[in-house]
C-alpha cells in the first residue's frame, strides 16, 4: 500500500499537452470528411473490420494508432468491430498467406453489401518483401476485389484515413 502511494507520488505526469497544430487540424478535418462521406453513402457511421491476412504487424501498429487519443476515430463514429457481420468496410493488411486465404474469402463473403475493401500497406499491394515466399498466395487483390490500395511500409494513420475516404468517395 505504502509503496503504491510512493509510486503515485513519484511518478511524473506522463501525458503531453495537446498542441493544436496544423497537422492536428488537418487530421480532424480529414476524419470529419470520412464521417460525412460515410453518412452520405451508408446513412450512418462507418464500421470497420480489420483483417490481418499475414502481415508483420507493422500496419497493425499504425491502424491501432487510429484508435489512440491523438486520432481518436471513435469520437467521429468510426468503429472497429469484432465481426464482419457488423462491418461496412474491410481493412486488409499483409500479403495473403495460404492459411489466411480461405478465411479472408469467407470474411469478405460474410460482410453485408454494400461493402468496401481497403488494402493497407505495400505487402497488401504487391506482397512487398514477402513476394515469392512459399507461404504466400499473392496480394489482397488476388483473393478478393479491392477498392483502394494504400501504399507505404507501413502507411501513416493519416494515409489510411485518406484511403478509407477515397474508397468511400469512389463512384460505383
Amino acid at each position: 500500500m505504502v509503496s503504491l502511494w510512493r509510486k503515485i507520488w513519484k511518478t511524473p505526469v506522463v501525458t503531453e499537452p495537446f498542441i493544436n497544430s496544423d497537422a492536428a487540424a488537418a487530421i480532424e478535418a480529414l476524419t470529419r470528411q470520412v464521417e460525412a462521406a460515410a453518412f452520405a453513402r451508408l446513412g450512418r457511421s462507418l464500421h470497420i473490420r480489420q483483417v490481418d491476412a499475414g502481415s508483420c504487424n507493422g500496419c497493425e501498429l499504425e491502424i491501432g494508432a487510429l484508435n489512440s487519443p491523438y486520432y481518436d476515430l471513435e469520437q467521429f463514429g468510426l468503429h472497429f468491430v469484432a465481426s464482419p457481420r457488423h462491418a461496412d468496410c474491410l481493412l486488409v493488411t499483409g500479403p495473403v498467406t495460404r492459411n489466411m486465404a480461405d478465411a479472408l474469402r469467407r470474411t469478405y463473403e460474410a460482410t453485408p453489401s454494400p461493402k468496401i475493401v481497403v488494402a493497407v500497406g505495400d505487402c497488401a499491394q504487391n506482397c512487398g518483401i514477402f513476394a515469392g515466399g512459399y507461404g504466400v498466395v499473392g496480394p489482397v487483390s488476388a483473393v478478393i476485389p479491392v477498392d483502394i490500395v494504400v501504399s507505404g511500409c507501413p502507411p501513416a494513420p493519416r494515409a489510411i484515413l485518406a484511403g478509407i475516404l477515397a474508397a468511400m468517395e469512389k463512384p460505383r
Partner: protein, 677 residues
C-alpha cells in the same frame, strides 16, 4: 346444475370397464403384438377420456358413494367422489389421455423386444389404480389401491429390465415407495385407532378432540409417506432414477400425475382429515418446499441426461406446489381462510399445470430419445431441423415450465407469488421471515428454471448434430405428435384462459374449507386479494402476439428494398465447422457449478499421459468433473450402512442350529408365561 348420482356411477363403471377390458384384452392378444398395442392403448384412451368426463361431472357438483362390503375386511371397498377427488381425476385425465394416444405410436418400438401385452395391461391397470386411489374413502381401500399403484408402476419402470441401470432404478423405487408405504400404514392405523373409525368421512370431526402429540405423530408419519411419493427433498432419490428408466409415456404419467397423488394426500391430510393444525406444520411444509424447489432446479441444471433433467425439474415443481400448500396451512393456522384458500388454489393450479407441461416435456423427450437412441444431451443437437414439430412442442413445454407468459406456468407461479407476498397479514415476525425466504427461493427457482430449459432446448435442438444418430433422426409418427399437440394446446389454454379452472377450484376449496379464495376474476382479468395485484392473461397473450407480429412488419415497412442473402453461419472464417466447436451442456452449466460448488461438491480429475520421449506431446487426456449427490452421501449411505450392520448383528441369532432355535422357543415361552402370570 345438478348431476344425477346414477350418471356418475355409470361413468365410473364405464371407466373401470374400459381399463379392465383393456388390461384383459391386451393380455389375451399378447401373442399378436400390434393387436395388443392397439387394443390395449385404445381402451386406455377411452378409459382416460371417461375419467375426464367423470372429473367434469364431479367438478360440476356430482357426488356418488359406492360400497362393496364383501371384498375387503374393515368396511369393504368404499369409493366416493367429491370436488377435490374430481380435480385430481381431471389431472389424471390431462396426463393419461394424451399419454395413451402417444403410447399407441411410442410402444411400437418395443414390439420386437418386449411383451406388448404385459405393457399395455400394466398401463391400463396403472391408470385404473390411480383413478381409484383418489376415489378411495376408507383406510384399507386406500392402502390396497395405493400399494397396487406403486407395484404396477414398478413393473412399468422395469420394462427395459435388461439394463442394469434400470434394475437398480427399480430397486431404489421399490425401497423408497415401501418406506413411504410403511409410514402411511403406521399413520393411517394411528389415525384410525385414535378416532375409532376407518372411514375418511368421519375423521375431520373426530380428530379435533385428539391430543396434540397424537396429531403431530399422525401428521409427521403421513406427511413422510405422501412426501416420499411426491418426491420432496430429501425423499426424492428414487425420482431421478425411476423416471428416466421407464418408457417415456410412463415417465410422463409418473412425473405428471402419479407424484401428484402425494400432493393429493397432503392436501387431504392438512386441510381435510386433521382440520386446522398448528403453524409448525405449515412452516415445515413451506421450508421443505423451498428447499425442494431450489435444490431440484439446481440438480436439474447439472444434468446431461435429458430425462433425468426433467425428473429433477419435477422435484422443483413439487416444491413450488408445496409452497402454495404450506402457505395455505400457515394462513389457516392464523385464521385467514380467504388467503389460505388463495394459496391452496395456487398450489392446485400449479399441480394441474405441471401435469400438462411435464407430461408434454417427457413425451417430447421420449420422441427425441426414440429418434436419436440416446438420452445424453451432448449427443443430440440440430434436431430442430430434423424434427421441427417435436421441437416446437418441447419449446412450448419449456416456456411454460420456465413460467413465461402466455403459457400456464406463468399464471400459477404468479398466483403462488401473490399468495406468498400477502403473508404480511400474518401478525408474527418469525412466520413473516419464513415467508420472505420462501419468496426469495421461488424467485431464484424461476430464474434457474429458465436457465435450465434454455440449456435443455438449446443443447438438444439447436446448432449442428453432435452425433451421427442425431444427424439421421426423423420426425416421430403422427399419433405421438397428436398426443404432444393436445398437451401443448392445453398449456396455452390454461395460460390464457384460466377462468374455467378458477371456477372449479373456487368450488372445490369452498366445499372442503368453507371459504372462497380472495380472488376476483372475469373473462379477461384476475385480481388477487382485490385490489392487491391484477393480471390479464388473455390481453397479455394478445399483446405478446402483436409485438411478435410487429417486428417483421416494422422491418418490412422500414426497409422495403433490402436484399436478402442466405449464407452459412459466421464461424470466424474457419474452413471446417463441426459440432465439436459448439457450446456444450457441461460448459453452459459450469458457471452454476462454480457458484454453487458448496452444494455440488464437484469431483475434479485430470489425468494426462505424456509421450515417453517428450513431455510436450500428450498421449491421452482424461477429464472428469462430476457433481456428487450430498443426500446420497450424507443421508442414504450411512442409513444403508447402519441397516447392513444391524442385519449382520441379527444374523448371529440365525445360526442354522436346531438346538439353539429350540432354546429360543423355550426362552420365549418362559417370558410369555412370566408376562401372562
Amino acid at each position: 346444475m345438478m348431476i344425477n348420482e346414477t350418471l356418475v356411477l355409470k361413468l365410473l363403471n364405464l371407466t373401470l370397464f374400459c381399463f379392465g377390458l383393456g388390461a384383459l384384452a391386451s393380455l389375451a392378444l399378447a401373442r399378436r403384438a400390434p393387436a395388443a398395442r392397439w387394443t390395449g392403448h385404445m381402451l386406455a384412451l377411452l378409459g382416460a377420456g371417461s375419467v375426464g368426463t367423470l372429473a367434469v361431472a364431479g367438478l360440476a357438483g356430482g357426488t356418488a358413494h359406492w360400497t362393496l362390503s364383501g371384498l375387503l375386511p374393515f368396511g369393504g371397498v368404499v369409493l366416493g367422489i367429491d370436488r377435490l377427488s374430481a380435480f385430481f381425476l381431471l389431472i389424471i385425465a390431462v396426463g393419461g389421455f394424451p399419454a395413451s394416444l402417444y403410447a399407441l405410436g411410442y410402444t411400437r418400438a418395443y414390439e420386437s423386444r418386449h411383451s406388448l401385452g404385459a405393457m399395455a395391461c400394466t398401463w391400463n391397470l396403472f391408470l385404473a389404480t390411480m383413478t381409484l386411489v383418489v376415489l378411495a374413502r376408507n383406510v384399507l381401500t386406500f392402502l390396497v389401491l395405493w400399494e397396487a399403484m406403486s407395484l404396477v408402476s414398478y413393473f412399468l419402470v422395469l420394462t427395459e429390465s435388461d439394463h442394469a441401470e434400470t434394475q437398480h432404478a427399480g430397486l431404489v423405487y421399490l425401497v423408497m415407495t415401501h418406506a413411504g408405504f410403511a409410514c402411511l400404514l403406521m399413520g393411517f392405523l394411528l389415525l384410525a385407532h385414535a378416532t375409532g373409525t376407518m372411514d375418511f368421512a368421519h375423521w375431520r370431526a373426530a380428530t379435533a378432540s385428539l391430543g396434540a402429540s397424537t396429531r403431530h405423530a399422525i401428521f409427521i408419519l403421513l406427511a413422510l409417506g405422501f412426501g416420499a411419493k411426491a418426491g420432496v427433498i430429501p425423499l426424492h432419490i428414487w425420482l431421478p432414477q425411476a423416471h428416466p428408466a421407464a418408457p417415456s409415456h410412463v415417465s410422463a404419467v409418473m412425473s405428471g400425475v402419479m407424484i401428484k397423488l402425494g400432493i393429493y394426500g397432503l392436501i387431504r391430510l392438512g386441510f381435510d382429515w386433521l382440520g386446522i393444525g398448528p403453524a409448525v406444520w405449515g412452516g415445515a411444509i413451506l421450508a421443505v418446499a423451498a428447499v425442494s424447489a431450489v435444490l431440484g432446479v439446481l440438480y436439474a441444471l447439472m444434468e446431461q441426461d435429458l430425462k433425468r433433467l426433467l425428473a429433477y425439474s419435477s422435484v422443483e415443481n413439487v416444491g413450488i406446489i408445496l409452497l402454495g400448500i404450506g402457505a395455505g396451512l400457515l394462513f389457516q393456522a392464523y385464521h385467514l381462510p380467504g388467503l389460505a384458500a388463495l394459496a391452496l388454489l395456487a398450489g392446485l393450479y400449479h399441480t394441474l399445470n405441471h401435469a400438462a407441461f411435464k407430461s408434454l416435456l417427457f413425451m417430447t423427450a421420449g420422441a427425441v430419445v426414440q429418434a436419436t437412441h440416446t438420452r445424453h444431451m451432448e449427443a443430440m443437437g440440430g434436431l430442430i431441423k430434423r424434427m421441427p414439430q417435436t421441437a416446437l412442442f418441447f419449446l412450448v413445454g419449456s416456456v411454460a415450465i420456465a413460467a413465461l407468459p402466455p403459457f400456464n406456468g406463468f399464471f400459477s407461479e404468479w398466483l403462488t407469488f401473490q399468495s406468498l407476498l400477502l403473508s404480511w397479514q400474518i401478525p408474527a415476525r418469525d412466520v413473516n421471515l419464513i415467508f420472505a425466504l420462501a419468496i426469495a427461493a421461488l424467485a431464484l427457482t424461476s430464474g434457474l428454471a429458465a436457465a435450465c430449459f434454455v440449456k435443455a432446448f438449446g443443447i438438444t435442438f439447436l446448432a449442428l448434430p453432435r452425433s451421427d444418430q442425431a444427424g439421421q433422426a426423423c420426425e416421430v409418427s403422427w399419433v405421438m405428435r397428436a398426443g404432444m399437440a393436445l398437451l401443448a394446446l392445453a398449456c396455452l389454454a390454461l395460460g390464457i384462459w384460466p377462468v374455467g379452472v378458477l371456477y372449479a377450484l373456487q368450488a372445490t376449496i369452498f366445499e372442503m374449507n368453507g371459504a372462497y379464495a380472495n380472488l376476483y376474476f372475469d373473462w379477461k382479468t384476475v385480481v388477487a386479494n382485490p385490489p392487491f395485484a391484477t393480471v390479464a392473461p388473455l390481453l397479455m397473450a394478445c399483446a405478446l402476439a402483436a409485438l411478435l407480429a410487429a417486428i417483421p412488419l416494422a422491418l418490412r415497412l422500414r426497409r422495403g428494398r433490402t436484399v436478402r442473402r442466405y449464407y452459412e453461419t459466421w464461424g470466424c472464417g474457419r474452413a471446417l465447422q463441426t459440432a465439436r466447436f459448439e457450446y456444450t451442456s457441461t460448459a453452459f452449466a459450469n458457471p452454476f457449478k462454480r457458484v454453487f460448488a458448496f452444494l455440488y461438491r464437484p469431483i475434479k480429475e485430470l489425468d494426462i499421459e505424456f509421450h515417453p520421449e517428450s513431455r510436450f506431446f500428450v498421449r491421452t487426456i482424461a477429464y472428469r468433473n462430476e457433481v456428487r449427490s450430498v443426500f446420497e452421501e450424507a443421508l442414504y449411505q450411512p442409513l444403508i450402512r447402519s441397516t447392513q450392520w444391524i442385519a449382520e448383528q441379527a444374523r448371529r441369532l440365525q445360526s442354522g442350529n436346531v438346538q439353539s432355535y429350540l432354546l429360543y422357543i423355550l426362552i420365549a415361552l418362559v417370558i410369555l408365561i412370566l408376562l401372562a402370570r
